[in-house]
Symmetry: D2
Subunit: 240 residues, 4 copies
């Protein structure tokens, strides 16, 4: 075990960091407070970081790639989707209310889902070949609950999830200061700091492995191959 | 996109498949019905499969690596843990009751957690370098709820999660036949069959990448390095 | 056991039914399809039903009772809150996307939470004295997951939850028709029909009991009484 | 608002308090630490409390009322079920591991579910007419996640849930002392103390209302009435 820097370079990687606070810019966001850690680790390693406050984008409800084709007057999603799909790493950050991720975060997942039928040039679903994690901040409880839902959705969509891909800070049980509030103890919390740092490194490592492999290996995960009846070693041909 | 088999070989990989049914052997298990798919894909590719019915093992409650040191008369966990840690791939299968994973599955996760303080030879937590997924079967509802908890726990412990690492079969809403029951429609369900097959392949691919990399890359994820104050590009040294 | 109608009258009760579909009016909503059952049971018993499509209301993000005091240009919540707080029974209906309640539903819960610091004339939190339930519709999975979160939030806010306060319809596993689609089997599903009917009756019964009692009994649940140090039979006075 | 004691008497009520710790008796249980609050409130009001450590009972896996009829050598459940069904109030207490309720708690819910097909003398499912709540203790996170599942299961089985029927204590984020450990801050936590006290009172109130009503009102919630085609004001007779 050594602190020697890894030989790998990460300078060709891109990360998109999506803050799902309920507060519009330029209000300070506690979630941004904790997101600063993975952003700093990424940037220290030459990764281009696209830091997005989701609420600043007009995302009408719906699960189609472009809701203007379904009655919405405008839709900021197609442009935001291009930024997300351009990145090798995706980090979603959310606050907690009543122990649950924010409605802005829920909307983001719905819109990600709306593009889930698209395939990449290798015939895999669109989000294959990328790594994802999440950051949660809250007053007291709910980080694992929110993280399990977010990481589930991300892997279901096609992202790969490295070890320990979630990090959180929570205040003491009951009402109390939020992360960036004076005396919260948040920025000094060794556990949250370590987990956010480890998450960032694990995302770098997995994104590096996937990019070097030319994407997530393409066999046994292409919907058209299944539809046309390729074997894929499925054991009961009579059921195909 | 092609059906040519991948060039990679998987013959050096081992998989452990852990069935958390509430039924002791040799009773037939519906969960085994769906687990047969990843098992078949693994075996068709030369992967050694260790197929475990968790309930056949004596797993006393507790979160220590060996509960005989804490009052238990016997403990089957240390032996089972050796089989789990020997495998490159871990698949947990669970039935649903009231929309929730089984108590046997819950016990398994607790015992996995009991060993989570151990580190491997590279100073990472014990489960690093491996890939995990899950299979859920139930009468009607709860697959995603159970899967999000299981995949969360597995990544939190150190496993990496490939894309679409969960597969499920559910009967129609309301009481009805279970997977292996005559006329359930389970074994013929194209969606469940495809997802279970894709999960198996994605586990093979990710385990292959990790094994070829010599494990999950070791930097920024070693608890001792953090403790001794290595930088790891953490942005606020005054908080270390 | 008898089918004689209950002696109680429900004609003085009001119910608010909140549909959290992602589709704006006047698009047909599958969730409305299942909500028609509790609405019909309520109306057959003379209960005034306020049927709301939440998306038709402008609900900016935030957790304050009136977001125009915090930078929002407009806020439809204060008016909608008055309709919700006027009702003795609250039913939330939500569709499922990726096994999760809708973002519109998440927003509704956030806004309900924003008023949770208010107290009623008896010093209890604002939602005390009312009964709540939920309806979930989806293509295949997630009803219990969504219902457990919704019912949790509602009881945490102060609503009382009768037995079997959730009902759902789900299609077969995998893509398929939605509730109102031709051939879905939804409207004929005996299990969903029964559960939606039972939920409606259990809400009527509990709302009746609470209204007859003059609200939820007021002792041991008033925050000001706790703050001023009333005993309330708390066992360790040295910790007060 | 007054601290005058309520006029109602609770001396005819019984409560069962089920501690789902992973530690067998007589080891001290942190969960018992917090459970002492509702127990004290109940006893101060003359309620007979049956305090159970679930792990002291032999509960084989399975979802039948008596597993000795399905191959188990012994089964402690039938005797424990009698104690649970004899009580007007049920409180489940659970610790958290990896943000999840204990496997002992999961087993308890499975066994409760195994009796869910039984009906009471009024043709309602067995758990109707009773009130339930839960207590959660943990090192850092997961209380709401565990509570939402427990309260969901309890209402689905037939219990009624009063307002604010969950209470929890959690330590600071990251490893740290447990509830009864020196310096944990648990027993002095005003928020946890208040919530546990309010939960206890709300259970008393709702159990009182239900007992005075002769149980949960019996109409629109009897499975046999539905099966034989009673109207129950269901709106689409052609689907019955």
């Amino acid at each position: 075990m050594t602190d020697d820097r890894p030989e790998a370079s990460y300078r060709d990687l891109k990360a998109v960091v999506l803050n799902c606070t309920l507060k519009p810019s330029p209000e300070p966001s506690h979630t941004d407070g904790l997101l600063r850690i993975p952003i700093a680790v990424f940037e220290a390693n030459g990764v281009a970081v696209d830091h997005v406050r989701v609420l600043d984008h007009d995302l009408p409800p719906g699960v189609q790639p472009d809701m203007t084709e379904h009655g919405a007057a405008t839709d900021g999603w197609p442009a935001l989707f291009e930024r997300i799909i351009a990145a090798d790493i995706c980090v979603i950050g959310t606050p907690l209310w009543l122990g649950e991720k924010s409605s802005v975060c829920n909307r983001l997942v719905e819109r990600l889902y709306g593009n889930s039928g698209q395939v990449n040039e290798r015939g895999q679903w669109a989000y294959y070949g990328k790594a994802a994690g999440c950051i949660v901040t809250g007053n007291e409880d709910g980080a694992k609950h929110a993280a399990m839902n977010l990481l589930y959705s991300l892997q279901h969509l096609g992202y790969a999830i490295p070890p320990q891909a979630d990090a959180a800070w929570l205040g003491e049980v009951g009402p109390g200061p939020s992360y960036l509030d004076e005396g919260s103890g948040g920025p000094e919390n060794d556990f949250s700091n370590r987990n956010a740092t480890f998450m960032a490194w694990n995302l770098l490592h997995l994104a590096r492995l996937l990019k070097d492999a030319g994407g997530f290996p393409a066999h046994g995960n292409q919907p058209e191959a299944w539809k046309r009846g390729d074997s894929l070693d499925f054991p009961n041909p009579e059921y195909r």
